[in-house]
């Protein structure tokens, strides 16, 4: 028995001592069986919340928070509680969880987190600053598990007291706490014996979140139950999460009439009929606009003609004028997305950050106006050659495919509508549908010409803009395909990362919006929906459009799902 196994055994034995129903594990053999019978006699009505978070053809027991591709999507938040969650529906205000505060040093070169007093791991051991220090250092040592990018920002970590963690930064970065939003703290006493933290499956996790006990795990369903030592147990009214394996939207549609799922986020065509219509009294949904979807041109394209056109603002504006955004939303998106008519591309959820000065005149490029686009290109010297397509002012041909992943039918339709518009203004654009992996690869290696893509927004609009439009990120992540480089914008980004007050950040982000709107580096078209459906049959407390206090999704990209879970109450 290795040390890890031994520790797990001890933990199980301890749990069994508490005679919780969760103690049933085969390794305990007869003891467990006897205890299970004891547990079964103290039967009480359990509240089990059935969720659908990810599409898989078979469940694999993997709760390793560092294995982004392989972990079960209920690992973050539910097993590993975040330090602090920034609520993007509330101006990015912090919701304190494992941490109760953080403070930058006066020189901004270090930040000190204060951890909540008295928090315990699910095995009863205290959660201290040593655990957080251990986790950060493990990430620094092993870039494969560096899921939040601390390797680029953190120089060293200290633990001055059991509740304080001091992080020394490589550069001044007041945006750092936001970049730590997806950071899981793992228990040192378990993970210090793990040789390969990426390959570790962590089948019976010891965590800090509300749902740490894996009670049942089969390829078709698993149940994740209440943490016996949860620090915020008073707020937690749900006893177990139940996650049936569902392989796709079609299967979801077939399952819906059973009415067995409480919280999910699927694409359902004609949702009022296919979902709400099944049980109008209980079934509901709210699909507020999410990330901005834009057309992004490869400004570093190796094709001389395309590169010349893409780098010309007149061309990008004409491109934008050729976009029939309403058709994209209504025809391609089943009416679920919302058109984005601002040259700054600001997502509606960040309305409190909106700079009116970045709108108005620049937004005129965001209408659908073929005549105006044609005139713009004529004036800029884009002449039509024999086959009716335009060439660049220097006479080079322009021809490019817009890539969109195969199978993303709504996006493919939207790109089709875009190419129809572009062809109307004499631009030889076409649709290409590589497999998703190829699509991503082309974005990263820069062999594509143009793409329709969204960016990964953070709790404030800064991250989305910073990562997709800063020189530093250009081409390194899929959210930054255009490889845009603007020293003026980089300067504002740098200032933002040095800003210490919300007013400063607001002013700087106002500038970001103006620069982006003036230069139109990407062509925003619409904001895709958030996917969120719920049933009030067994639980109440759901976030709805009447009470839009947070991102309601249960997907792994939304940390607020933890707070959402804590709002839920079983129906008596």
């Amino acid at each position: 028995m290795t040390a890890v196994e031994e520790m797990r055994f001890l933990r199980l034995a301890r749990e069994a001592g508490k005679s919780r129903a969760t103690a049933g594990r085969w390794r305990l053999g007869a003891v467990a069986a006897a205890l299970m019978m004891v547990a079964a006699t103290e039967a009480r009505a359990e509240s089990v919340l059935t969720m659908h978070i990810e599409e898989q053809t078979s469940w694999v027991q993997n709760f390793n928070p560092f294995d982004l591709g392989g972990r079960r999507q209920s690992t973050m938040d539910f097993v590993y509680e975040p330090l602090v969650i920034f609520n993007d529906y509330d101006g990015g205000k912090p919701v304190w969880r494992l941490a109760t505060a953080y403070k930058f040093a006066d020189d901004l070169k270090s930040i000190t987190y204060t951890l909540r007093d008295g928090v315990k791991w699910s095995d009863g051991k205290p959660l201290t600053s040593a655990d957080m220090k251990f986790t950060l250092e493990m990430m620094l040592k092993n870039p494969a598990v560096d899921t939040v990018g601390v390797g680029e920002t953190v120089a060293s970590v200290e633990a001055p007291s059991p509740t304080e963690v001091k992080i020394n930064l490589k550069d001044v970065d007041t945006h750092f706490p936001e970049s730590l939003a997806d950071f899981p703290v793992v228990p040192e006493h378990i993970w210090k014996d793990v040789k390969d933290p990426l390959a570790f499956k962590n089948e019976t996790p010891v965590g800090s979140g509300p749902m740490t006990e894996i009670r049942r795990f089969t390829p078709q369903v698993y149940e994740q139950c209440r943490n016996p030592n949860y620090w915020d147990a008073a707020s937690l009214k749900v006893d177990c999460l139940k996650l049936p394996q569902i392989s796709g939207n079609d299967q979801m549609l077939a399952l819906l009439p059973e009415g067995s799922i409480d919280w999910f986020g699927s694409f359902l065509p004609q949702i009022d009929k296919t979902y709400v219509g099944l049980d109008a009294e209980h079934n509901g949904y709210w699909q507020p606009p999410a990330e901005t979807v834009s057309f992004q041109m490869n400004l570093k394209s190796s094709n001389a003609g395309n590169a010349e056109a893409f780098n010309d603002m007149a061309f990008r504006r004409a491109f934008s004028l050729a976009m029939d955004r309403t058709a994209m939303v209504d025809i391609a998106g089943f009416g679920y997305p919302v058109v984005n008519t601002h040259a700054s591309g600001l997502p509606p959820r960040f309305d409190s950050w909106r700079n009116k000065a970045a709108e108005g005149t620049q937004d005129e490029w965001m209408a659908y106006d073929i005549d105006k686009a044609n005139k713009l290109l004529d004036d800029a010297g884009y002449k039509k050659d024999g086959d009716g397509f335009r060439t660049t002012p220097s006479g080079k041909p322009i021809a490019f495919p817009i890539i969109v992943p195969n199978g993303w039918t709504d996006w493919i339709d939207a790109v089709q509508i875009a190419t129809e518009g572009l062809r109307k203004i004499g631009v030889n654009a076409s649709v290409a549908t590589p497999e998703y992996e190829q699509w991503q690869k082309q974005i990263l290696d820069g062999t594509f010409e143009a793409v329709m893509n969204s960016r990964a927004d953070g709790p404030t609009p800064f991250r989305g803009y910073f990562q997709s439009l800063s020189t530093a990120f250009g081409g390194r992540i899929t959210s930054a395909p255009s490889r845009y480089s603007n020293p003026e914008l980089d300067k504002v980004f740098d200032d933002y990362r040095r800003a210490t007050t919300d007013e400063e950040r607001k002013t700087l982000f106002d500038q970001v919006q103006v620069i982006v709107a003036d230069n139109l580096p990407v062509v925003p078209v619409f904001n895709g929906p958030t996917w969120y459906q719920f049933s009030t049959k067994r639980f109440t407390g759901w976030v709805t459009k009447d009470e839009p206090v947070m991102n309601p999704e249960d997907h792994d990209n939304n940390r607020m799902r933890l707070v959402h879970l804590l709002r839920l109450k079983p129906v008596q």
Partner: protein, 327 residues
């Protein structure tokens, strides 16, 4: 009973060919496992993490000859490698949990179709040209022609979604624990009804057609005439004399059709979310999980070759005339 050397050599060559094809085919698809792993990380993957993943799984990007040598050496040790999609699970684990379900599905469908198809074929040959035959035989041709995907979707929509008579997914009710009890078995049975009914029409059509033509030729034999002349009942002549002898070509056909049945089970399992090899193969293909695809194709090849071998052997037992080395 023994098989000739030539026959065994054919099997060996087929097996070697399969090994090479299993290696080559997945690699002809665009994309690589490393790309798909990085894609799985999503837009939030940091550049450092992407680099680290590339370094870790770089082994997959070794030169082709090296991959082939590793693959063959692994095979010799019954080591099919580690899955990329379900890392760090091994291919044997991944296939192990699904092979049983597909075997169950395919076996049940074959037995069911064999019973129905042979009976229909025998009766329609006996009364060839009659009203029964003129309906059943053309209908069999239709059954052979309809792709399983259409039958699967139609069945799912009718019985699963609209009438809600049968479960729409899984191999058994996920809330049950597998065990030797009635509840579990009845759940497995209910969940298998639609997939089996989807796989069967094609098989029934094939069996009916083969059985009918084979039976017709047998009906002309002297011993059938004699059986009638003896005054035996119609049923005794039909099944005891004619059908028994007419079964042989059906058996040959069965071995040949095994590949098609596996093909059909892929579509069926995807539609009904049935946790078998087909669903696994589909997921592995999408994820460019070469090790799993290889292992899966190998398993199917062995199953098909094995079935052919078995039929060869059975054939020899059933019909002494074709037993090799005597003719």
């Amino acid at each position: 009973m023994r098989l000739s050397r030539r026959r065994l050599a054919v099997y060996c060559v087929a097996f070697l060919f399969a090994i090479v094809m299993n290696f080559a085919v997945p690699r002809m698809m665009p994309g690589s496992p490393v790309d798909s792993m990085i894609a799985q990380l999503g837009p939030r993957a940091t550049p450092a993490a992407i680099e680290a993943i590339k370094a870790r799984f770089g082994a997959i990007e070794q030169p082709i000859w090296r991959q082939f040598v590793d693959y063959v050496v692994g095979l010799a040790h019954f080591d099919l490698g580690v899955s990329v999609k379900y890392y760090p699970q091994t291919v044997v684990e991944v296939l192990g949990r699904s092979a049983g379900w597909t075997a169950f599905l395919v076996f049940t469908a074959i037995v069911f179709s064999l019973c129905v198809g042979v009976l229909l074929g025998a009766v329609s040959a006996w009364r060839r040209g009659g009203r029964f035959d003129s309906f059943v035989s053309p209908f069999s041709v239709v059954l052979i022609a309809v792709p399983p995907v259409i039958i699967a979707l139609a069945t799912l929509f009718t019985f699963g979604v609209t009438l809600r008579l049968l479960p729409v997914g899984y191999a058994y009710d996920p809330s049950l624990d597998p065990g030797l009890n009635f509840t579990f078995f009845s759940s497995v049975f209910l969940h298998a009804v639609m997939p089996v009914l989807t796989l069967s029409p094609y098989l029934i059509g094939e069996f009916q057609t083969t059985m009918r033509s084979s039976m017709i030729s047998v009906l002309g034999e002297d011993y059938v005439t004699m059986g009638r002349a003896k005054g035996l009942s119609e049923a005794a002549v039909m099944f005891g004399y004619a059908a028994r002898n007419a079964m042989l070509p059906v058996l040959t056909n069965l071995a040949l059709m095994l590949g098609a049945v596996f093909g059909g089970s892929i579509v069926t399992e995807i539609v009904f979310n049935y946790p078998g090899l087909g669903l696994t193969l589909y997921t592995a293909s999408v994820a460019r999980d070469y090790p799993v695809i290889q292992g899966q194709l190998l398993l199917m090849t062995i199953a098909t070759l094995g079935a052919n071998l078995l039929v060869d052997i059975i054939y020899g037992v059933v019909d002494p005339r074709i037993r090799e080395g005597r003719a």
